[in-house]
């Protein structure tokens, strides 16, 4: 065993001495692998960055929610939105598995705040809004049951509006000629952009003639989401609302789809990386074979001095692995630098993944082993005396 490790150390010493004496030649020979390692690292890091950004934006909608919106183009005289009857039916489907929040959402609703006028998304809803949406109040209080029961003119505005116009709790906002007092300021979470939340009055909430255009359903256990989602779809199908009239947003399903898409993308990336490594590896093999012609005398000498065929084979393989390891190191440093530059630029989402460096390094070393094998076998079959006679 001692001899084995001593041999490995000696072979490594020879390998490094060869690299040192032919550093330029070595650099050229490993350039393919260096470029491949950079490509793999950058590809995986950008892919991971994109994936995480996308998944985060999906998760921001709330993984336990099902959102249903009726398409405005399908609103008719007969079907103006979701009725109280629909809501009661969905409540029955949900049973104890979740809660439903009906909403009346209006896009780009004009409002006045102090001397300013602007537009925001308006959500009119019950006190369940904050529970279902899991929004966080930065200041003030949420919509309360009291506001709903007493038709209080209270409003909650998004942080973006509060910051832009320097307004705070106690200020007033005017919407549709009604004045509402700001009682809370909310973070934005998945609700992108400016928004205002108003309580619906109790009379409106339970009116048979009132229609909502949004439903938000919070399911307590994520494992029930897809099952409930299909039951709700079935219900709307049965009552004759065409599939294209409804927009469903089910983050859990989107994540699943996204993860499946990522698996396919990862496979494509893996194949690209593999091809890249193959071409780098073939380059290494080619150069090792051409070096073999020059090293024949050296190999013959080593065999005469007592090196076995196995030792020659191992030495050549080790040299290939050292070459590709050096390439992996150089490629990793360069790849890290490129990622840093890209992340400073900020336009590309980057995730500095250890996985990327490990995969690239492993592939580089593996290609060294794979493509060093044939030159190593050839070297070990050299007859010492004929090798020495050749020169």
């Amino acid at each position: 065993m001692m001899n084995f490790w001593r041999g490995i150390c000696a072979d490594m010493r020879h390998s490094f001495a060869t690299i040192r004496s032919q550093w330029f030649h070595t650099m050229i020979s490993v350039l393919g692998i260096v470029v491949s390692v950079i490509a793999v690292i950058v590809m995986i890091s950008i892919n991971e960055g994109n994936k995480l950004t996308l998944l985060q934006s999906i998760r921001d909608y709330g993984m336990q929610t099902i959102r249903i919106a009726i398409d405005d183009t399908h609103v008719t005289h007969h079907r103006r939105g979701f009725s109280m009857h629909d809501i009661q039916h969905i409540k029955a489907i949900l049973s104890e598995k979740g809660i439903i929040l009906p909403l009346l959402a209006s896009k780009n609703m004009p409002y006045s705040l102090q001397q300013y006028s602007a537009q925001a998304n308006l959500y009119q809803c019950s006190e369940l809004f904050f529970d279902v949406e899991q929004l966080h109040l930065l200041r003030g209080r949420p919509i309360l049951a009291y506001d709903v029961e007493n038709a209080v003119n209270a409003a909650i505005i998004s942080e973006s509006i509060a910051n832009r116009y320097s307004v705070d709790i106690g200020d007033f906002i005017s919407i549709r000629r009604s004045i509402y007092q700001i009682v809370g300021i909310s973070d934005t979470n998945a609700m992108q952009g400016d928004f205002v939340i108003l309580p619906l009055s109790k009379q409106t909430l339970f009116s048979d003639t009132f229609f909502y255009n949004r439903l938000v359903i919070r399911v307590f256990d994520t494992s029930h989401i897809l099952e409930l989602y299909s039951q709700i779809q079935l219900y709307f199908n049965e009552i004759g609302i065409p599939r294209e009239a409804l927009e469903y947003l089910v983050p859990a399903q989107m994540v699943e789809q996204e993860e499946n898409a990522q698996k396919q993308l990862n496979l494509v990336l893996f194949m690209v990386a593999l091809m890249s490594m193959l071409s780098g590896g073939i380059n290494i093999m080619n150069i090792m074979l051409s070096n073999l012609a020059q090293q024949t005398r050296e190999i013959g000498l080593k065999m005469a001095l007592g090196a076995t065929a196995e030792r020659i084979r191992r030495g050549m393989l080790l040299h290939a692995v050292i070459l590709t390891s050096c390439a992996a190191l150089l490629g990793s440093i360069a790849g890290y630098g490129i990622l840093l530059l890209l992340s400073l630029h900020g336009s590309v989402p980057i995730y500095f993944s250890q996985k990327a460096f490990l995969i690239a390094g492993f592939m580089a070393v593996f290609s060294g082993l794979l493509f060093g094998l044939y030159p190593a076998l050839r070297a070990s079959q050299i007859a010492p005396m004929s090798a020495l006679k050749e020169y």
Binding site: N3, A10, T308, A383, L388
Partner: protein
């Protein structure tokens, strides 16, 4: 260590090179193998040094039947008991002098670094190369390179040294230095030298000569 070869035959591409050659190398002998070009001098040397296998015949070193040993055992035997000097020095140019001389230790049993270093220093001094330890071999003259090659051949303290025209590329002065050193090794240290040469002056240093003729 006595080397005895009997009835060695070798052919290349159906052309007989050696036909039933016998040779005995006893300790302390300086053996010369001479003959015209193409008569199989180097082939005989490589058979005796176990670098090639004969088609027939026997090869014993003391009581060991060398032809029955596997490649691994032969490699170890060569490392422990044989030294090689070739017409060209065959030094590894990416290694310095001391690394070249210590090269056989990379393929043999583990030895302490201090022992290796002391042995290399002793050989460098005895070959007139003291202070050359870390010199790049590419910067040495032909004579110096050949002396480094001799040091490499002797570093494991071998019993038999195989030399294939060791002075073929050297001038008269360096030839004399090398041959006298080899002769001294036989006389003083009881080592055996088997030298291939076509130079009659070099052959005059030998105390036993095997003449080969072209078949």
């Amino acid at each position: 260590m006595t080397l005895t070869a009997q009835g060695l035959c070798k052919s290349y591409e159906n052309m007989l090179i050696l036909d039933h050659v016998d040779i005995e190398v006893v300790p302390g002998s300086f053996h010369g193998i001479i003959g015209p070009s193409g008569c199989g001098k180097t082939t005989l040397l490589s058979l005796l040094a176990t670098l090639e296998r004969p088609e027939s015949g026997t090869l014993h070193i003391d009581n060991i039947d060398m032809l029955k040993l596997d490649q691994y055992s032969l490699a170890n035997f060569r490392n422990a008991h044989f030294g090689f000097v070739f017409q060209s020095s065959y030094l590894l140019l990416h290694l310095d002098v001391i690394q070249n001389i210590a090269l056989p230790y990379d393929y043999g049993v583990v030895e302490k670094r201090e022992i290796i270093f002391a042995r290399v220093q002793h050989l460098l001094a005895s070959l007139g190369l003291a202070g050359y330890d870390n010199k790049r071999t590419a910067l040495l003259s032909g004579g110096e390179q050949q002396r480094v090659a001799i040091a490499r051949a002797l570093v494991r303290n071998p019993n038999i040294i195989f030399a294939d025209e060791p002075t073929g590329n050297l001038d008269a002065d360096n030839t004399r230095v090398i041959l006298e050193y080899l002769k001294k090794l036989c006389h003083d240290e009881g080592k055996s030298v088997v030298m291939v040469t076509h130079d009659s002056d070099a052959a005059s240093y030998c105390n036993s000569i095997k003449v080969l003729s072209k078949l």
